[in-house]
């Protein structure tokens, strides 16, 4: 007979995988997204075109499909299968979320008025200085709400990794239901709710912290 405690420990182990996937994806996708943004906004047309097509493909296909592609395609094409399923999941998630983040960044950057850039320019600042010293914080302020949305979605999306057999929380719960114990499956919701509640508080704090200026 499974006790509440033993189920909890099993599920927590699974959720550990979710959190690992979540934090590594976030850590990598945040900067890579910015890189994609710069490519998408580049004046060099081929790069811009390439980057936009890439974003279109990634945003236009299901993440679940991308997980399979990352797992199988390297093995089929180059005879170099990805052996660790977690790594495959991480690669797919990073690619997918970088593209979403890049579009949020782009929206934020493009929403800053031209006057800010021009003011920086007439004051003799370089383009890099204008971006980092003037524009960036204003962009951050504007993208906190859409980013928090996306990041909360990421937490929940991590459970998709089970389709390539990463032992995340819902997969763990499913092992119980295979033995006829259904309730652990529903119980997993509590883990997501709790963690997302925590994130909501954190994002609320960040928003408040940036509340001191308007722009």
């Amino acid at each position: 007979m499974e006790t509440f405690i033993s189920v909890s420990t099993e599920l927590l182990k699974g959720f550990g995988e979710n959190l690992k996937l979540f934090s590594l994806t976030l850590l990598l996708a945040l900067p890579i997204g910015l890189l994609i943004t710069f490519c998408s906004m580049s004046k060099f047309k081929p790069l811009k075109w390439l980057s936009k097509t890439f974003v279109w493909i990634i945003r236009g296909t299901p993440l679940m499909l991308q997980l399979f592609v990352v797992l199988y395609v390297p093995g089929l094409l180059f005879n170099y299968p990805i052996k660790i399923r977690f790594t495959a999941a991480l690669i797919a998630f990073v690619i997918n979320y970088s593209c979403y983040f890049s579009e949020i960044y782009r929206g934020g950057i493009e929403s800053i008025s031209r006057g800010q850039y021009e003011a920086g320019q007439v004051l003799g600042m370089t383009k890099t200085q204008v971006f980092f010293r003037v524009v960036l914080l204003q962009v951050v302020k504007r993208i906190v709400p859409p980013m928090s949305n996306e990041i909360i979605t990421l937490v929940k999306d991590t459970s998709l990794a089970r389709v390539i057999a990463v032992a995340e929380i819902i997969m763990m719960a499913d092992r119980f239901s295979a033995r006829g114990i259904i309730w652990p499956l529903f119980y997993t919701g509590a883990f997501f709710l709790l963690f997302n509640g925590l994130l909501t508080v954190v994002f609320g704090r960040i928003e408040k912290k940036l509340d001191y200026f308007r722009g």
């Binding site: 008025s113 320019q121 003799g124 914080l137 308007r214």
Partner: protein, 265 residues
């Protein structure tokens, strides 16, 4: 002696020729106002002079420095570009203060970045950098005081009125001591009752002998503060002269029309 010299300046956007050959000079210490209806090319002229637009053809020089020359195809280095940029200063119609910085920081930021870069190149010791930065702060405080905002040093732009924001913008431009200070309709975004405080600051600068180029719709102010008034129409300078000549005895038919329309309003 002419401090700013603009020769045969042309600028086209798409198929519209906005500037059709502008020639004019500003003497050191004098104030020139540019008037004209919207679409006459005033703002474009100002943007070409301050480097925000690149003219198609012509030459601009400030003092003995040529800041733009369409016949010179040589690519400028970053340092040269910046040097050219800093010859002129610009105060925008919409202020364009940096919202996340305090008044003081808005004024010091650009200068500080400049000095830090200089120090890095010359490999100055840390103590010297510190000393120079606190020097910048002192200068900034004096300039902010001169526009009457010494009690707002630590305030953010969103806490200021439009008139106060524009005065900060003027202080910010002054901090880099441009040879020619340009204004693009500095009071157009302000409520009528607070334009006065901005105009007072500009008047004070005029009395201090600053060289200024002001695009404005404030005819009374242009009359009072300028040494010379330029009337632009359809991409050319249609008339220029002393304020008395331009406002009281306009010769150009378009100018007469423009003045009667604005004065009636």
């Amino acid at each position: 002696m002419a401090l700013l010299e603009v020769q045969n300046l042309h600028k086209t956007f798409g198929k519209t020729e906005v500037l059709k050959g502008i020639d004019f000079t500003i003497d050191e210490g004098s104030v020139v106002s540019v008037i004209g209806s919207s679409g006459s090319g005033k703002t474009t002229l100002l943007r070409c002079i301050t480097g925000l637009e690149t003219a198609d053809c012509g030459k601009i020089s400030v003092g003995d420095r040529v800041t733009f020359d369409s016949t010179d195809k040589r690519k400028l280095t970053k340092a040269e570009k910046r040097e050219n940029q800093l010859c002129t200063g610009l105060v925008f119609q919409s202020f364009n203060l940096f919202p996340q910085y305090t008044v003081l920081r808005n004024v010091t930021l650009a200068k500080e970045l400049l000095v830090k870069e200089e120090c890095k190149q010359q490999k100055c010791p840390r103590t010297e950098i510190k000393a120079r930065i606190s020097e910048i702060e002192e200068t900034a405080k004096q300039i902010i005081d001169s526009v009457g905002l010494s009690d707002k040093l630590e305030n953010y732009p969103c806490e200021l009125s439009g008139g106060q924001q524009q005065r900060v913008a003027i202080a910010r431009a002054l901090m880099l001591s441009p040879k020619v200070l340009c204004f693009d309709e500095p009071t157009s975004a302000l409520d009528p009752e607070i334009t006065g405080e901005v105009l007072a600051v500009i008047r004070k600068l005029a009395n201090e002998g600053r060289t200024m180029l002001i695009v404005t719709h404030e005819m009374g102010f242009a009359h009072e503060v300028s040494n010379e008034v330029v009337f632009m129409s359809d991409g050319v300078i249609a008339e220029r002269g002393t304020p008395d000549e331009v406002f009281d005895h306009p010769k150009n038919a378009r100018l007469q029309e423009f003045l009667s329309a604005t004065l009636r309003a």
